[in-house]
């Protein structure tokens, strides 16, 4: 026998309490895991984004557009491989409340710019050859039940009018955090053509340029060259790597991220209290036993290791169960928050799992402190007199 066995036996001694403690901790870990997941996913986009894909936007305002004419000047910037562009299309299908992202893009450079898009060559070709064609992510297709070849009508918000489009491909993405699977892409040229007649003032403008820096070229240098070339013009640019661009958007929601972080902190507080409570009850009941053990000649540190061992064991059991539950819960959570636009997928990463376990370890350590101190302070005599 070892003290480890005593710890184990003590832990399972009151099955009801064990169940409640582990269950309670598991729920808390589950909530914590879901928050970590949200935070991780939020930031995953910027981590997965490419460093050599540069995004050029209007420096003064997010909503201002850049003249199409900039394209020619971008093409000659040293180090720029492909110059792609696009704009928010803002299409609405039937109900404006059921929104999804839709973008008008230059079809000829689209696939080269976004290698994340997984689509058969036939479908790529079909899209590029049909001016009224569009491609959609498989999640969007599933949402509205759209099939390849189907004609759909969108109401334009940014590009006014009714738009008849034909689905030419349904794609998946190798990196859903960067290239989502719930969006629609159509030809910018088609959208722009109609705008020329309806609102000529706004025609021939793009929301952003995407420049792929040539291999081996520092993206930052190219970005600086781009911004320098448009400095002091009527529309100055701001060029960042896609990574920095995404990170910037995440930072704009900084207050919400901090709110979630606060929440995860409080949640850990709850876990701590549940565990401390369980331990305190256990230690109180066993005061006499601990005193007997002390009488036999065991040191306070032995008692501490008994309590600490039990605490860590409970914490890890709770953490483990919570993680197991996290998988189905994340699915449910994904369904509930689907298409709110702030999280694109709920992949449980090793980081999420690591964070959960690390936190439970910490909770296990901290929870043992107070009961352990009480045990150390307890004199053998008091303990032996204890009625519990």
């Amino acid at each position: 026998m070892t003290l480890g066995r005593l710890i184990l036996r003590n832990t399972v001694r009151r099955p009801v309490r064990l169940l409640l403690t582990v269950g309670g901790l598991a729920m808390v870990v589950l909530a914590f895991g879901l928050i970590r997941l949200t935070l991780d996913q939020w930031q995953a986009g910027s981590r997965a984004a490419l460093k050599n894909r540069l995004i050029t936007v209007h420096a003064m305002s997010d909503e201002l557009r850049l003249p199409l004419a900039y394209k020619d000047r971008l093409t000659v910037i040293p180090g720029a491989r492909t110059v792609h562009f696009g704009a928010v299309f803002g299409g609405v299908y039937q109900d404006p409340k059921q929104s999804f992202g839709s973008f008008a893009e230059q079809a000829s450079t689209f696939f080269e710019t976004y290698p994340e898009v997984v689509l058969s060559d036939a479908e790529r070709l079909a899209f590029q050859q049909d001016r009224r064609g569009c491609i959609i992510g498989h999640r969007l297709a599933a949402r509205f039940g759209w099939k390849v070849g189907e004609a759909i009508t969108l109401k334009g918000t940014v590009y006014p009018g009714d738009w008849e489009l034909v689905v030419r491909g349904i794609f998946r993405s190798t990196s859903p955090n960067v290239m989502g699977e719930g969006e629609l892409y159509l030809h910018w040229a088609y959208a722009n053509e109609r705008l020329k007649t309806t609102e000529p003032d706004r025609a021939d403008q793009v929301g952003w340029f995407v420049v792929r820096a040539a291999d081996g070229i520092n993206g930052q240098t190219v970005a600086e060259a781009i911004d320098a070339s448009f400095a002091n013009s009527s529309a100055e640019t701001r060029t960042e790597s896609e990574q920095a661009y995404f990170a910037g958007w995440v930072a704009r929601s900084g207050a919400l991220l901090r709110g979630l972080e606060w929440m995860s902190g409080i949640i850990n507080g709850i876990a701590l209290l549940v565990l401390v409570n369980a331990l305190a009850m256990a230690v109180r009941e066993r005061t006499r036993e601990y005193a007997v053990i002390k009488t036999l000649g065991f040191q306070p540190r032995h008692l501490v290791s008994l309590v600490l061992g039990e605490s860590l064991l409970l914490a890890l059991l709770g953490g483990g169960l919570g993680l197991v539950l996290l998988f189905p819960a994340a699915q449910l959570y994904a369904v509930m928050t689907q298409d709110r636009g702030y999280v694109s997928s709920y992949l449980i990463t090793t980081e999420t799992i690591g964070a959960c376990l690390a936190v439970m370890l910490l909770v296990g350590l901290l929870a043992a402190v107070w009961p352990a101190i009480r045990l150390i302070r307890m004199t053998t005599l008091e303990g032996l007199r204890h009625a519990g």
């Binding site: 003290l3 001694r13 007997v292 036999l296 000649g297 065991f298 040191q299 053998t380």
Partner: protein
Amino acid sequence: MYDPVVTLQRVSKVYSRAGTDVSVLRNLSFSIPAGTFLAIMGPSGSGKSTLLNLMAGIDRPTSGVVVVAGTRLHELSEGDMARWRARHIGYVFQSYNLIPVLTAAENVELPLLLTHLSRKERTDHVKTALRLVGLGDRMDHYPRQLSGGQEQRVGLARAIVSDPTMILADEPTGNLDRESAEDILTLFVRLNRELGKTIVMVTHDPRAAERAQLIRHLEKGVLETPP
């Protein structure tokens, strides 16, 4: 061998509770030669347990010196006291105080975890101790599966398994029926006679005390030889 095993010099114990001092032991001086089986008697509240606890090093006197097994106990720190206890004292409780989640064998093994014995040696010691108290066949039973008398015999095995210098027992038969009590007392006598163990037993039962070599009465904080 330490002889005498216990020496008390002008030992006093005063409890102060709610402002009033209760003097439990008064200027007690005596010694216990090695190999003695001593019974301490006295009415309830006379300070028998207090005296025993002072010798066991789980309590400290208000004044005076307690020397047990050649060690001046007041000089020891908490930690050293615990180590000293593990080496020299086997304690038998009135209410057995076995750990309910451990089997008889594991309960007996507990003090051995403080020694450097190997697993094999520990198991051998445990078997020997349990056989000695007649429970060689109850090794894997949990305390709740044992009778009171059997529990106390496990308690006794736990007290002797590490071969301590001295065995201290506080009313070891207090919770037992006559028959079980006799078994325990017989074991004490055997341990004393055959293995030469020094035993101090606190009891208020004259029939139990009779089995000891020596009886002392504790009354009003003073130790007296019975008439």
